[in-house]
């Protein structure tokens, strides 16, 4: 994943797009690749990439997202630098789109600058989310997103989980449905995202698919009931 110059992360509201985009950008930066993370999430009001602005800056990722008071506004702001970056071949770009076809509509407005750039359009799927419980609903959602984005899905990231209650069975069941969805769409499952701790077990159980170890970065300070909560900043945990 994240091999092409522009990688766009799309999917259902709450499917895990932001965490995957942030982790992808951080991984590229750690490998020495100049990378910009573009936040065009105009759907959700909390838990956006901008919550991790300082952390991303420290790690060498350029975050392109509303700043100052606009960072906590519920306004559909798309910064002009987004269009510049789509054409700037000197760096890689990871785009965190908003949820559903509603969020993907912003991509449609960028179709003139994305044309010819051959972006990777990764569809994130969590089959434990209420509106994508099965393969047909995931395929229907993919089609809606493609129409709004004016782009075709080029790969799938299997991200089925239940936060702290995730088990290997939950992940593997989701991977199976992600593969069926990929077959229906004519693309591949590019990776299975796994929170650190279960990644080795999944790698052993699911050979032939990239295991993308996920570090949860943007999340609330309340944590699961029975687990330790790490240090917190003023609003969201950044660990």
């Amino acid at each position: 994943m994240f091999e092409r110059r522009i990688t766009i992360v799309v999917g259902h509201f709450g499917s895990g797009k932001t965490e995957i985009a942030v982790n992808g950008a951080v991984r590229l930066a750690a490998g020495g690749t100049p990378v910009a993370l573009v936040d065009i999430d105009v759907v959700k009001p909390y838990f956006r990439t901008r919550e991790a602005r300082d952390l991303l800056s420290d790690l060498g990722v350029e975050l392109v997202a509303p700043a100052g008071e606009n960072a906590t506004a519920d306004l559909p702001i798309v910064l002009p630098r987004v269009r510049t970056l789509c054409r700037d071949t000197s760096r890689k770009v990871v785009v965190d789109a908003g949820g559903d076809d509603t969020g993907a509509r912003v991509l449609g407005s960028l179709s003139d600058v994305l044309a010819g750039q051959a972006p990777d359009l990764l569809l994130v799927l969590n089959f434990r989310r209420p509106f994508t419980p099965d393969v047909p609903s995931a395929v229907a959602m993919a089609r809606d997103i493609e129409a709004a984005a004016r782009l075709k899905v080029t790969g799938i990231v299997a991200n089925t989980h239940l936060m702290a209650e995730t088990t290997a069975d939950v992940i593997l069941d989701g991977l199976r449905m992600a593969r069926e969805t990929a077959d229906m769409l004519g693309v591949d499952v590019r990776a299975v995202a796994v929170e650190e701790g279960l990644d080795r077990e999944i790698a052993a159980a699911a050979p032939g698919v990239e295991v993308f170890p996920l570090k949860r970065i943007v999340q609330p300070p309340v944590g699961p009931m029975n687990l330790k909560v790490p240090r917190t900043g003023p609003l969201f945990v950044v660990r």
Binding site: P45, Y46, D74, R128, P130, L235
Partner: protein, 362 residues
């Protein structure tokens, strides 16, 4: 049913549908928009009706009409929108109509901001509207509990014929957690048929008129006495709270509700590892407030610490409970900032080493 990963707002919407609610009237406002968004998809699937009203004033009067016709109905909003509904809440209480109102609180006053807050405690528990009335107020601390309390809220509303608030800070609405909806849930109360509902008179019973207007002073006073008797029953029977670490020894009693109580629980566990003993009392019902439980738990502590996402509102109820028998300290954040476990733990240490100033005249 297999567990789902849901935002608090989605779980609240699904819980309402599973409680038999087929009607939602509301108006958008962040950070609770995912409730109407979810219901606009789901209600048509179950033969229900979703209406985006022209305003919160409209929505709150639509729930008055639907409840008067005997239907289970609910609305949701966030702080400024709940303020707009206050006239109707007073009318709903006066006409004794069962409705559920979900408030996913954001920071105020005025338009404030879209980030989490608990600054609508007074509005919910002391009656934001006019007249002598009270509403039940339930405050969840997790997405699962938000779903469970919404189900309970419908039963309590019907049983007492009274508005019930489910009060969550912005995090409760926006964060995602695993949720399970039990298929075998039993109603909380024996619920009588709604013979009082205005469903069309066919001559077989007295006319059912939904009303809060009583022009005769004695009649209105009697109506108020009946309401007060009902509120006294609610205060006797519907107190809910949970304690953490109350069984052992402790020096500081923390009183906190909602997600703040979870932050305090993390702080409490860290402090205990360092030999500092704190315990937590978490009110779940904010009206009725657990005065007796707070009084009894505070008697075993050296000091009481109230933690809220406000400038200090629940602290007044804690003062009533403690009645000056223990020093009370306060830690609050406003503006949408959250309390961190480190902050809560530091405040407990300050309470114990004398660096924290006791609160007077809150």
């Amino acid at each position: 049913m297999a567990k789902k990963l849901m935002k608090g707002c989605e779980a609240i919407g699904e819980a309402a549908i599973r409680a038999g609610c087929k009607l939602f009237f509301g108006y958008p406002i962040t950070p609770q928009n995912e409730i109407p968004e979810y219901l606009s998809h789901r209600l048509p699937q179950v033969g229900g009706t979703f209406v985006q009203a022209e305003s919160e004033v409209g929505a709150s009067n639509m729930i008055y009409g639907a409840a008067g016709a005997g239907e289970r109905v609910f609305t949701s909003s966030s702080s400024p929108g709940i303020s707009l509904m206050q006239e109707a809440v007073s009318y709903l209480a006066g006409a004794e109509l069962p409705v559920v109102i979900v408030n996913i609180m954001r920071a105020g006053p005025g338009l404030g901001g879209i980030l989490p807050s608990q600054a609508d405690y007074f509005q919910a528990t002391k009656g934001g509207g006019h007249g002598d009335f009270n509403t039940l107020v339930l405050a969840p601390w997790s997405v699962q509990e938000a779903a469970d309390l919404v189900a309970d809220a419908f039963d309590l509303a019907d049983y007492y014929r009274n508005p019930v608030y489910v009060l969550g800070d912005g995090l409760i609405g926006q964060m995602m957690e695993p949720v399970e909806f039990r298929e075998d849930r039993k109603p909380l109360k024996d619920l009588a048929a709604k013979t009082w509902a205005s469903t069309g008179w066919k001559g077989d019973r007295p006319r059912a008129v939904i009303n809060s207007l009583y022009l005769d002073a004695d009649t209105l006073e009697q109506h108020n006495r009946d309401l007060q008797a009902k509120y006294a029953t609610i205060r006797r029977d519907e107190v809910r709270w949970q304690g953490y670490g109350l069984d052992g020894d402790y020096d500081v009693l923390i009183v906190a509700y909602g997600t703040v109580a979870r932050v305090c629980l993390t702080a409490m566990e860290e402090l205990r590892e360092q030999g500092i003993k704190a315990a937590i009392l978490r009110p779940i019902s904010l009206y009725p407030f657990p005065y007796d439980a707070v009084r009894q738990a505070s008697a075993r502590a050296r000091a009481v610490l109230v933690v809220e996402l406000s400038a200090g509102q629940m602290i007044q109820d804690v003062q009533l409970a403690v009645a000056e028998t223990r020093p009370i300290h306060f830690h609050g954040r406003t503006g949408g900032n959250l309390v961190s476990p480190d902050e809560a733990a530091a405040k407990v240490r300050e309470v114990l080493d004398g660096r924290s100033q006791e609160v007077r005249n809150a």
